[in-house]
């Protein structure tokens, strides 16, 4: 993860709004104000570009949000920052790739299958989510649970998480080599043109999926007994078994939910940006983690709001400035938000006893 050099897909240049806000562009500084404004009004379709950007921000935000949910769930329950989570997302994308090519009969296991892409996708989604959840649970069992049993200091748990992430990245590298994988096309791309705003079916699927996942998780956490137990653990782990609740089961459920969502993000990301490489989870994982913190880590609403906020900030920055400044600006804005509200947007001051 610290290697972090993984490229994150650039925002496609054609979506970038440059002319409309040229006033603030460094190279345009010499242009008199009124002239710039005139130019602005002359721009053909500023509104269209704004909508286009909003749509892109929502799509990017969806990926961040889906991954941030995993960070926030695990943190909310265990007060543990699962730094391997970004790499679980990467593993999810690769698992999706292997399941998909196997089902399509173009690689992976040779089962002699040649499924229709639509059917293959319908199977790939749940299978990938289940497999990714298993990876998350394995991580919990082998790395975190033994430390918890021994009452290890939090520092060792964090280091373990970082190392687990590196093991996943480099394990992938060792197994599959440095070459990139191309994710197969699984849906027919449909492009709608709404008054100049291009909407693809994939974008809509990504955004709708992240919102549905949020609603589902919010329901689980606030309304079900498992969800109550998850919240209860974060307040007082000691009292959970006294209610007849198996502590480890609740923790496993938490990892299942978080990892399954990372798996879903992996599929959707691979469909949107079909080139997979072992470090793809590093930077996006950090960003999702930061999104979760800015939203208020431990709160599911925070993960969604933080994720979308980061999406909007990034797209907004690129609309105005050269795209090389994107991360610098995005992170600076997030720093300022944390400076103003150290607990994040939805966070409350720590009252836990753990």
């Amino acid at each position: 993860m610290i290697t972090g050099g993984g490229p994150i897909p650039e925002v496609p240049a054609r979506f970038v709004l440059r002319r409309g806000l040229a006033r603030t562009h460094p190279r345009r500084k010499a242009v008199p104000r009124h002239a710039a404004r005139k130019h602005h009004f002359k721009a053909k379709v500023p509104l269209v570009e704004i909508f286009q950007n909003i749509l892109n921000a929502l799509q990017f935000g969806s990926f961040y949000a889906l991954i941030a949910l995993g960070y926030t769930l695990v943190y909310g329950v265990l007060r543990l920052i699962n730094f391997a989570h970004g790499d679980i997302f990467m593993v999810g994308a690769y698992l999706a790739y292997f399941v998909a090519v196997t089902l399509l009969g173009i690689g992976g296991l040779n089962l002699g299958l040649h499924m229709d892409p639509g059917l293959a996708l319908a199977i790939t989604v749940p299978v990938t989510m289940i497999l990714t959840a298993l990876v998350g649970v394995t991580l919990e069992r082998t790395a975190y649970r033994p430390l918890r049993r021994k009452g290890a200091d939090r520092l060792y748990v964090v280091i373990t998480a970082l190392m687990a992430g590196l093991v996943l990245e480099n394990g992938n590298l060792a197994l599959l080599g440095a070459s990139r994988k191309r994710f197969p096309d699984m849906i027919d791309k449909v492009i709608w043109n709404l008054h100049g705003v291009t909407v693809t079916n994939l974008k809509v699927i990504v955004i709708v999926a992240s919102i549905l996942v949020f609603l589902l998780l919010q329901f689980i956490v606030t309304k079900t007994k498992i969800g109550m137990a998850m919240r209860g653990i974060s307040y007082d782990k000691f009292a959970i078994p006294l209610m007849g609740i198996p502590l480890d089961t609740i923790i496993v459920v938490t990892f299942v939910l978080g990892s399954a969502m990372a798996g879903l993000a992996g599929i959707l990301f691979a469909m949107s940006y079909p080139i997979l490489e072992p470090y793809m989870g590093a930077l996006i994982g950090w960003k999702a983690f930061i999104a979760a913190v800015v939203g208020g880590i431990g709160d599911i609403r925070g993960a969604i709001v933080g994720g979308f906020l980061l999406g909007f900030i990034e797209i907004g920055v690129v609309a105005v400035f050269p795209s090389t400044l994107r991360d610098l600006f995005a992170f600076s804005v997030l720093l300022i938000i944390l400076w103003l509200r150290p607990t994040g947007i939805f966070g409350v001051a720590q009252t836990t006893k753990i």
């Binding site: 049993r149 021994k150 007994k225 919240r231 307040y235 078994p241 007849g244 009252t351 836990t352």
Partner: protein, 244 residues
């Protein structure tokens, strides 16, 4: 009367330090038994050993046995003690889930119950009838309750786990005298309707007036036991625990 809980020659360690040096006691069905002793005597350790709390909190049992209805608890995971047997513990300091509402705290306690909606519903009604204050504060975050109300919630939560044998660790701690008497009156009512109680107290006077029998624990050993009347009259116990 059947023996419910039987602790036999129990030795317990924290790391290398032995906290209980082989204690034995029993609780029979329908009784109120109290375990009294000064701070640090090993009272909480005894309850934690019975409840099998998971590491790192839990002390380690090195010798002896704990039997509940004749069945050894030593290899039982902690949540099973509550879910499969009808035991419940109101721990020291209450340990309610402050970030959940009163209602959610009670509901969470029914997590492992399998005896159906009706029985659970009856227990809710019983809890709200015993503690009308909790009914008024159903939707309130339990952190914001007063100390007395939190103790009510801790007791209500234990009832909601469907318990027939209740262990309490210093329930009087931090309560004003009036609330304390209320609490003990409620406990006696519960006992009269069939609940067996093991009470841990530093306040020996109060505990012995409430319980049928008592054991005196001193630095990990039981130094006296008998009916409450016997202990209240015992000159040694009087001198050490009842203020002369």
């Amino acid at each position: 009367m059947n023996t419910l809980l039987e602790v036999k020659n129990l030795k317990v360690r924290y790391g290398n330090i032995e906290a209980l040096h082989g204690i034995s006691f029993d609780v029979k069905e329908g009784e109120i038994v109290t375990l009294i002793g000064a701070n640090g005597a090993g009272k909480s350790t005894t309850l934690m050993s019975i409840c099998r709390l998971p590491p790192p909190e839990a002390p380690r049992v090195t010798e002896g046995d704990i039997l509940y209805k004749g069945q050894s608890l030593l290899n039982m995971p902690p949540h099973k003690v509550v879910s499969d047997l009808d035991m419940a513990l109101v721990p020291e300091g209450r340990r309610i889930f402050g970030n959940l509402t009163v209602e959610e705290n009670l509901k969470l306690a029914t997590y492992a119950r399998t005896d159906g909606h009706e029985a659970i519903h009856r227990d809710y009604e019983r809890v709200y009838q015993l503690f009308p204050r909790l009914a008024e504060r159903k939707k309130q975050r339990s952190e914001s309750l007063s100390g007395g109300e939190q103790q009510m919630l801790a007791l209500g939560r234990a009832i909601m786990t469907k318990c027939g044998f209740l262990m309490l660790d210093e329930p009087s701690m931090g309560l004003a005298p009036l609330l304390m008497y209320d609490m003990f009156r409620t406990l006696r009512e519960l006992n009269q309707s069939g609940l067996t109680i093991l009470l841990i107290e530093q306040n020996a006077n109060l505990a012995l007036r409430f319980a049928h029998r008592g054991y005196v624990l001193d630095t990990g050993e039981i130094v006296a036991h008998g009916t409450s009347e016997e202990l209240l009259a015992d000159p040694e116990v009087k001198k050490a625990y009842l203020g002369g």
